[in-house]
Symmetry: C2
Subunit: 140 residues, 2 copies
DNA sequence: TGAAATGCGACCGAATTGATCCGAATTGGG
DNA sequence: CCCAATTCGGATCAATTCGGTCGCATTTCA
């Protein structure tokens, strides 16, 4: 019942990107420096985020990352799903096969739980996070 | 974003216990046979469940397990917390220390997400699960 | 065209999880 | 009152996954 550190980092990185992506591109190294996440790990996360279509990566010198969608259109659920795959609390739902199949009276209740969790994550948009605490780094 | 198999098993075991605990005690081995979970694993889960106060264990010959509370008073959240510890999506909340401390603009949003998740889990009681699909398996 | 910077992919180590085994405690029967 | 069977409890060991690191192909600016 705990999402992986990668997903946590991904949210931080996305927030940092939203904050710095005012008008240009940001490099993964720069984001790593900004967030304190190890550079290679940040690159790995950025790769997944790009593959998921949340970030747009520009190759070559002077390139970098930028949000593929406006910050208001990106939610925690999107980021978590990009890193961790579909939001399903149990493997049963994905594979459709419980190791203990039986009647599995629990199965009918998972969809509603999953939906609730996803809703909770979807309720928080990236714009909200970025605006919450710019802290000392107030940008004009 | 996926709870451990142990927690999943725990829910199945609790449901089976609620179903078979009509008037007596059930052995861990019997529950394992009923649910299809490996016996040693079932014992391990039962231990944690007992330690958490959800099950009452009776030692000795003819002993076994029984629900410590009525099924209606036990929710998924209780079981998950018994196995996985407190429901916190990120380690930051527990430890109070992010590896990337910075401003951590994400932190203020976690409590509401955690509460929503916990609420979703607490909304499903063990009685509901046990009543959903008794021993018989309807045609699908 | 050349060189530098960047993102991308694969490899390796560490940690948590999951499964197994053995020992201690308790009760029922003789 | 003693013995034995059955049970839970804890400790140990292997496996899968996650996290971190390194090297390379690609792409752009000079």
């Amino acid at each position: 019942m705990r999402l992986s550190n990668l997903a946590d980092y991904a949210i931080v990185i996305m927030a940092a990107t939203a904050r710095k992506c005012g008008g240009g591109r940001v490099s993964a190294a720069d984001l790593a420096l900004e967030t304190g996440i190890p550079v290679p790990t940040a690159q790995k996360i950025v790769s997944k985020l790009s593959a998921a279509g949340l970030l747009r990566s520009t190759r070559g010198a002077g390139g970098g990352l930028q949000l593929a969608r406006p910050a208001a259109a990106i939610s925690m659920a999107d980021i978590v799903e990009a890193i961790e795959g579909p939001i399903a609390l149990v493997s049963c739902i994905d594979t459709g096969d419980c190791t203990v199949d039986h009647e599995c009276s629990v199965k009918p209740h998972w969809p509603q739980v999953n939906a609730a969790v996803r809703g909770a994550l979807a309720a928080v948009s990236l714009a909200k996070i970025a605006n919450e605490a710019p802290a000392q780094k107030e940008m004009a």
